[in-house]
Amino acid sequence: MQRKENETPQGQAASVLVEFLEVAITAVVFLKGVYPSGAFERRRYMNVVVQRARHPQLRYYIHATVSGLLPFLQKGMVDRVAVVFFNTDNVPLEKFIFKLTVNQSYGSSVEGVDLQISLRSFLAKLSVSESLTKKLPPDCRWEITGNFQLLPETGTSKEANFWIPTDTKQWEQPLFITPIRSMSSDPLCLQFYIEHPSLSESSVL
């Protein structure tokens, strides 16, 4: 939990955010029940009960993905991070979106505790948001996608190579948004919402 003293506020926020995202994404995956509940164990993060993946690979996937986001988050390049659930045809059924804005011009230091409390409320809210989500068909898959404001040039850095374009199809119809939680503070502003395809599309599926 100890942060380096010389970090920029954006850097501080980004590292807190990465940590948070890891937990939050796990929570989403747990919430959607993609894996049996036995695949998770209860842990405490920021003083709320959260789930942690027990399977090393799952844990690694989530951890590595969000850690890979870190340099881009610090630069404020990441527009949103999505947890996308899609069926076997690669058609997304539900997306959990974290829309981020990192204020690059913010100067003063970050109150870690304040940020934590705000982020904690996301986890708390998420844990009771199951009714807002759709029931997924069995046999569906999921992935973490990051929407970048501009595509990182591959080859420039190791982290950039890490990211690959997603195969997931896009919705053709307008989508519906169900906000779960918002936080607007400096330097980090975070919106967490669910996207669903419009009714017509979902009925087709």
């Binding site: 709320v48 906000p179 919402y193």
Partner: protein, 1093 residues
């Protein structure tokens, strides 16, 4: 990350074991096997041992576990290099979520020699640490905490930062604090565990802390009425000698003359007998309005911390005062407040007295015909009861006669009450009024104390001093007279009195001072200078604490020194009046004459103590009671007032809790006033006015520390009652013959119309004046000549007749025997040429509607429908309100009234009017119109047209404002929409609620309240396009502001709106209007539309 994970794994263990505990209690039939099961499952270090020895039962398991944990803790503690034993003796139990987490706290306790308990136990734990509690625990705090302090984790952090153990008291959890059973209990119980140091430390902090949270104080009081009662009394008193009330008064009202004129009944009779023509003492009508003297004016004597703290340890409930003393807890606060106030008792005695001797007081003024002419050497006698309050108490207890006795508010042996009066034996011990009983007892252990006995005071005497001017009485020896008066007083009341004789009231009073106790003194004019020379300045009436301090700074301690200063420099320093007073008094000059009755200039009530509000409701409730009190006082004095002033003490932003318990502390004084055209003492009108006034403040009720309501421009109620009476009689005759009334109305119209013809139509002023004229006519017709014959046809104005409501017309037609129809037919031709007439009629009609509520609201309603009796009251009220506003803000003369429609108002004038006034005006317009609207249509539907002009008001007002709407309504700290919304009667509420909730709060938190309140409005108000538009505009801009950064807020707002759209037409329109915009905005920002289930 790693460190955290390991942390959480250990805490998981704890939670797991907790879970197991629950299981165990559920299945304690099967404890043994379960115990084994835990052992096998447990991952903790203790698991091996527990596996070996399954426990006989759960408690032994827990005991063992606790022991283990403790050992663990101890070993860890010894391992960690102990830096400083800050928390030595402290053992904490962390409940629920905290920042820092329980594990971190545990680390701190390890480091600083404290203890950390995993399981709560009454015996080991000294402090419970938590930052939030569920309601159920708060409600049953004792069951939860077992009386232990519940403290916020910051206590530990701050203690570490301070490197010493701080008092936990300021860190007490707010939720609990309000519920905390008994602070004193904590002290006694905990003191053994805490170091002495901490204990005193804690004590010192109790007081600020107590004041920290009002609810808690309130709760505390409920539980310990007696203690609190004392505190209350303590605070309520001003630390002055009760005998010398005048000096106290002057303390408080420096600029006012002293009010020391107290009269004893007996003395009065006596004096009457002795010198009937002098009519002496009743100069009582001194200076101040008596009701001004509120207990709470005690600004100066803050109780020291120490004193307050000592309130707590006392535990015995004497049950003397069961009521609680704060606006928060006591629904009858105002009433009790004044009931228990000594100063109030003193302040209002004059009225009681006057009532008792009504005949005497009326004859008074005549008796005093400039008796104080300078050429006559006047002689004034001042009689003052010796230690009056005590004397009354001990007059029936001769045994106590020469014992030290004091009167205080509470007889509590703990000595937490303040002495208000002490007799001379007691004074010789150095006991003074304003002292705490405790301190007094230290000075004089055998001091006997008594509580007040107001009834006895009233019964024995009204108050305890009097002036008697016997300049004209040709008494040879004033001293002889004085002694005979004193003797008689003693014989009648068995209380001793002292008398002073001097050339004027000032000298007489000073003489009395010298004479006390039970003696008399005559300061002849020759000896005045000698006497004054050594007199300390504070002995002069009118010099209070503050002034004395100022003088002291100039090293002026005696009157002799004061005399050295020139009048000019005194006046420069202290103001004209005070300077002159000082100059005069220091020379023994006092121009006041005995017995002048000064009419009360204003009557009111202030409460500046114990005023704490949680929300608007509390405040309104309080105001209602205050209004009742003031209304009672007005009735008591038999007067009615026209100007109403609401004074509010608002806590200064940076002000701490006042040193005085529940006092007002450092406050800004704000006031607003209105003047209404018709004097009143009616409670309901008062309440309405006060509510309006409160609205003018735009103040957070939580900041209010004191409220005063004063009524001035007093008029004698009798005369106004007579007016009323005639009005009433007029009414009754009116209702008896409605037809006639109607006729008069028509006639009246006719007349006023004629008047209007002369002036150019449309001018409000001329309408106002013309209305006065026809009002007179109306009265003449009604009162003087109820069966008057109709005016000849030729005098009738065709236009008027034609525009009359059909019923009225048909009636008039009947009166004229059907000729009216012909007349109109004829007139039509004529009238086309003079079209201006038509206009003037309309103007006239509207003018009448406006004017009526002011000049005589009742008749109009009565004319239209007699059964609207209740409404007339409301019309009256609104009339008042609006009139007063007009007088205040615009150049329209007072008799002019608000036009019924905004279209008649010059928009530019309206723009110039201050916002709050504008809001009130605009608010009144629809209300006023609504009244007319509901009272008129049944009988004269013709009027509706005109009324509908009035309906437009709220349409118009946003209309004028709408241009400014285009840009940022939400910018700034105080969003500009609040200003705009003031203009709209219904939306203004939103602004108010928003204001109340603090400006930074989000709309979603304000909306529910507004929606619920709006629901009521919605029923009565019509929906105007502009109102919808303005609301839409507001929401649109809110969406714009928030959409990018806080979509959740938008979502919540619109879910709320949608929910309300079902119930309210207004909101359904707003919702439908705004929804497309919202979706477009969401689409722009998020590439989708908001899902509204």
């Amino acid at each position: 990350m790693d460190s955290r994970l390991s942390n959480s794994s250990s805490s998981t263990h704890h939670s797991n074991s907790k879970k197991r505990k629950k299981n165990a209690t559920a299945n304690n039939t099967n404890q043994k096997t379960l115990g084994v099961a835990w052992g096998s499952k447990s991952l903790s270090a203790s698991s091996c041992s527990s596996r070996k020895s399954p426990f006989s039962d759960f408690s032994s398991y827990m005991a063992h576990k606790n022991c283990k944990l403790q050992n663990q803790f101890d070993s860890e503690a010894s391992a960690s290099a102990a830096r400083k034993p800050i928390f030595s003796g402290v053992s904490i139990f962390v409940d629920g979520f905290t920042v820092p987490s329980s594990q971190e706290l545990r680390g701190y306790m390890l480091k600083y020699d404290g203890r950390f308990e995993n399981y709560f136990s009454r015996h080991c734990v000294t402090h419970i640490i938590c930052s939030n509690l569920p309601d159920s625990k708060v409600k049953n705090i004792r069951a939860f905490s077992a009386g232990l302090p519940v403290v916020k984790p910051t206590w530990i952090l701050d203690s570490i930062a301070a490197n010493r153990l701080l008092s936990w008291v300021p860190y007490q959890l707010e939720q609990v604090a309000s519920n905390q059973p008994k602070l004193s209990a904590f002290f006694t119980l905990k003191s053994s565990k805490m170091s002495e140091d901490t204990f005193t430390n804690a004590l010192c902090q109790v007081e600020p802390d107590v004041q920290d949270s009002f609810p808690r104080v309130g709760q505390l009081k409920e539980r310990h009425p007696s203690e609190v009662g004392e505190m209350v009394e303590v605070c309520r008193q001003i630390s002055n000698e009760s005998n010398d009330i005048s000096s106290k008064k002057t303390d408080v009202f420096m600029m006012e003359e002293p009010i020391g004129e107290r009269v004893i009944c007996d003395e009065e009779k006596l004096a009457e007998a002795n010198s009937s023509e002098t009519n002496n003492e009743r100069n009582t009508e001194g200076e101040l309005d008596p009701t001004y003297q509120e207990p709470s004016t005690s600004f100066s004597i803050p109780c020291s911390d120490n004193q307050n703290v000592h309130q707590f340890p006392s535990s015995e409930a004497t049950g003397s005062s069961k009521q609680c003393h704060s606006t928060l807890t006591d629904p009858n606060f105002v009433e009790n407040y004044f009931k228990n106030s000594r100063l109030h008792f003193i302040g209002t005695w004059r009225q009681r007295y006057r009532k008792r001797f009504p005949t005497l007081s009326t004859g008074l003024n005549n008796g005093i015909s400039n008796s104080n002419k300078s050429d006559i050497k006047s002689v004034i006698l001042h009689v003052d009861m010796d230690c009056f309050f005590v004397s009354v108490v001990i007059r029936n207890k001769p045994a106590l006669f020469d014992k030290p006795v004091a009167v205080c508010h509470s007889n509590n042996s703990k000595g937490t009450s303040e002495i208000s009066s002490a007799n001379y034996p007691a004074r010789s011990y150095g006991i003074r009024a304003g002292m705490f009983v405790r301190d007094a007892k230290a000075l004089c252990p055998h001091l006997v104390t008594f509580p007040y006995n107001f009834e006895a005071y009233e019964e024995a005497v009204s108050c305890d001093e009097a002036f008697l001017d016997f300049t004209d009485a040709m008494v040879e020896d004033p001293e002889l007279l004085a002694s005979s008066i004193r003797k008689e007083i003693y014989e009648t009341t068995r209380c001793t009195a002292s008398a002073g004789i001097g050339g004027n009231m000032l000298m007489a009073r000073i003489a009395t001072r010298t004479a006390k106790p039970n003696g008399q003194c005559y300061i002849t004019p020759e000896r005045v200078d000698d006497h004054l020379n050594q007199l300390p300045v504070d002995a002069l009436p009118g010099i209070g604490y503050v002034l004395q301090e100022k003088l002291k700074k100039q090293s002026v301690n005696t009157c002799g020194q004061l005399r050295m200063i020139s009048k000019n420099s005194l006046q420069k320093e202290y103001g004209m009046k005070t300077g002159e007073m000082l100059w005069n008094y220091s020379r023994g000059i006092d121009y006041r004459s005995v017995g002048i009755i000064q009419e009360c200039k204003s009557i009111g009530a202030d409460v500046n103590w114990g005023v704490r509000f949680r929300d608007m409701k509390d405040c309104e409730h309080f105001l209602i009671n205050l209004c009742k009190e003031v209304s009672l006082r007005l009735q008591c004095c038999g007067v009615q007032g026209r100007t109403f002033t609401l004074k509010i003490k608002k806590r200064r932003k940076d002000a701490d809790e006042p040193a005085k318990f529940m006092g007002c502390g450092d406050c800004e004084n704000l006031s607003h006033s209105v003047t209404i055209p018709l004097a009143t003492e009616n409670v309901e009108i008062l309440q309405r006015i006060v509510k309006q006034l409160l609205g003018c403040f735009y103040i957070d009720v939580k900041e209010i520390r004191g409220i005063g309501l004063h009524v001035s421009r007093l008029e004698n109620a009798d005369t106004s009652k007579q007016e009323k009476y005639t009005l009433k009689s007029w009414l009754t005759s009116g209702s008896a013959s409605v037809e006639k009334q109607k006729y008069h109305m028509g006639h009246n119209k006719h007349n006023s119309d004629c008047a209007n013809c002369a002036s150019s139509h449309g001018c409000i002023h001329s309408q106002g004046s013309s209305f006065q004229i026809d009002n007179k006519i109306l009265n003449i017709h009604v009162s003087g000549d109820p069966i008057s014959t109709p005016p000849p046809l030729c005098q009738l104005d065709v236009e008027v007749i034609r525009n009359l409501p059909s019923e009225v017309f048909s009636e008039l037609n009947e009166i004229y025997g059907g000729k009216l129809i012909d007349f109109i037919a004829k007139g039509k031709g004529k009238c086309e040429s003079s079209s201006s007439l038509g206009n003037s009629l309309e103007d006239d009609a509207t003018c009448k509607e406006e004017d009526l509520p002011y000049s005589d609201p009742i008749p109009l309603n009565q004319i239209f429908s007699e059964n609207k009796a209740m409404q007339h009251e409301r019309v009256l009220g609104s009339g008042h309100g609006s009139c007063s506003q007009v007088t205040h803000n615009s150049n329209i003369e007072r008799d002019d009234l608000l036009p019924s429609s905004l279209s008649q108002i010059d928009a530019s004038v309206l723009q110039q009017i201050p916002e709050d006034l504008k809001a009130v005006i605009l608010e009144h317009l629809p209300a006023h119109r609504a009244q007319d609207f509901c009272s008129t249509p049944a009988i004269c539907p013709g009027r509706i047209n005109q009324d509908s002009v009035g309906v437009d008001t709220s349409k118009n007002c946003p209309g004028t404002v709408n241009h400014a709407l285009n840009d940022s309504l939400w910018a700034g700290n105080l969003p500009s929409w609040m200003d705009k919304f003031k203009d709209s009667s219904c939306l203004r509420k939103l602004g108010e609620i928003y204001h109340r909730s603090g400006f930074n709060s989000q709309l979603s938190s304000v909306l529910p309240q507004f929606l619920s309140e709006f629901h009521h409005l919605d029923l009565t108000q019509e929906i105007y396009d502009e109102t919808v538009n303005i609301m839409c505009e507001l929401l649109k801009q809110y969406v714009k502001v928030k959409i990018e950064r806080d979509i959740e807020e938008i979502y919540i707002c619109f879910r709320l709106l949608k929910r309300f759209a079902v119930k309210s037409q207004f909101f359904s329109r707003v919702y439908n209007d705004i929804f497309p915009f919202l979706q477009a905005a969401v689409d722009d920002n998020y590439g989708g539309s908001l899902f509204m289930p």
